[in-house]
């Protein structure tokens, strides 16, 4: 059997005395769309940060296609792409420059044609030479998505990519995500629009206070709960877990 694209083993992440992730193990497989759901502060971004290099886990190990994210960080970072939750942009550079710089940083020879093609895909070609700060919020977020793809990652993390993006472009973005998956990219996404996850995801993980409550394929999850929406199932699980924590 092929190794999973992502394998997290017994991840613990502490910030001082606070434990953000508690003994978390998870595998994600090639070509799937995995939705990581959970309330604010559950630890979704923390987990993504440990995998992508923005944070370091306190305990446990993470492998991407069999490579350790600490020992073989140069390999794993070439394989992984990230759209961070927080919008960031460099006021010094235009969208097309930002993309070309990101190619170089990722170790790929900068290529203007490819940068322009990516901007086109994300409906940013009109803004390619504008000051990035003059882009609207949704445009900046689309630029982040384009930036995460410059090195053609095998495993892509989308941390709330649709927050602040209008309905039409949200649909287009999800279409793009499905196209990426068809082209072989494995995708892990977080969103607070549960119905988006219900439409898109092959498997779903629900994180609550640093613990995975459930990891299951969408089909079997929905089947088990006979016709109820994912949002209802999600809320019930979270409420139950909250009750357990309160008790």
């Amino acid at each position: 059997m092929k190794p999973p694209v992502l394998r997290c083993r017994h991840i613990v992440k502490r910030y001082g005395k606070f434990t953000a992730l508690e003994d978390l193990s998870l595998e994600v497989y090639e070509g799937e769309i995995f939705a990581l759901l959970g309330p604010n502060g559950a630890g979704k971004s923390t987990l993504i940060h440990c995998i992508t290099g923005l944070a370091k886990q306190s305990e446990g190990s993470i492998e991407v296609l069999g490579f350790d994210t600490v020992a073989d960080f140069r390999t794993t970072r070439r394989l992984v792409g990230l759209v961070p939750q927080e919008i960031n942009y460099d006021p010094f550079f235009t969208p097309v420059e930002s993309l070309m710089i990101q190619m170089g940083l990722m170790g790929v020879e900068p290529n203007r044609e490819r940068a322009e093609a990516l901007l086109k895909t994300f409906a940013l070609d009109e803004k390619r030479d504008a000051y990035t700060r003059t882009l609207s919020g949704g445009m900046k977020r689309r630029l982040l998505v384009a930036k995460s793809l410059v090195h053609e990652p095998r495993l892509l993390f989308l941390d709330e990519p649709t927050a602040g993006v209008d309905v039409e472009l949200r649909r287009e973005l999800w279409q793009e995500v499905q196209d990426l998956r068809t082209a072989g990219t494995t995708i892990v996404l977080t969103t607070h629009y549960i119905e988006e996850a219900e439409k898109l995801a092959d498997r779903i993980g629900i994180l609550h206070k640093g613990e995975l409550l459930l990891v299951e394929s969408r089909e079997s999850l929905l089947e088990r709960h006979g016709g109820r929406s994912l949002e209802d199932i999600y809320l019930e699980l979270i409420r139950k877990a909250d009750g357990r924590h309160a008790a």
């Binding site: 290099g53 923005l54 990230l82 942009y89 460099d90 010094f92 020879e109």
Partner: protein
Amino acid sequence: MSSIALKTLFVKEVRRFSKVWLQTVLSPLVTTSLYFLVFGVALGSRLREISGVPYIQFVVPGLVMMTMVRDAFLNTSSSLFQSKINGTITDILVAPIGAFEMLVAYVGAAMLRAFIVGALVYVVALTFTFFPLYHLGWTLFFAVFVTATLALLGMIAALWAQKFDHLAIFPNFVLLPLAFLGGVFYSIDLLPEPWFTVSLFNPLLYMVNGLRYGFLGVADVSPEASAAVVLASFAVLLGVASALLRSGYNLRS
């Protein structure tokens, strides 16, 4: 190691300061030239020789060093700190870039900026008082290692700082006073005790006097002593900066 990434990061840093060259190149050039006009040209016409050279020439290496120290520090510190604050450091943290490449790119770009400003100040001074360079080797040695040392200090400061005020401490309350007291405008031979001895504990004294030896062949301390202090500072800061970057101090939460 990725040479494409290293090159990209270096070029990005150079483009960053070139895009705002009014602030990063012209402004220090004007400020330092004003110092030169006031102290060197105006006062210098009244002052006698100092250490056997005309005063107007005596201040040139000190002023060049003062601006190089400041610009090397400011380039790394403001660039790295800004990307920490506006979140663009993420682009580097997710990339297959190691501590070494980050260090070389940031320090290299800061050195380039300091060299450009330093050379321009030197050219301005030469139009007022032409003198041949005494020793090219020592001049380059001090220019290279001092700017590298200050660029490293700038990186360390940016990693440590949590707000802009923290960063502003260095150029205004540390580097400028130490440069002034390090003999930019005078020879410490003129100082009474205990100030003469106190001055010997100021690392900027060795940087200023090292370059002065390279430019003019005169200095309060021997070029070997200056070189030893500069190299030791460089080695210590290189060690600290590499260790901080490798551990992800205040970068990777």
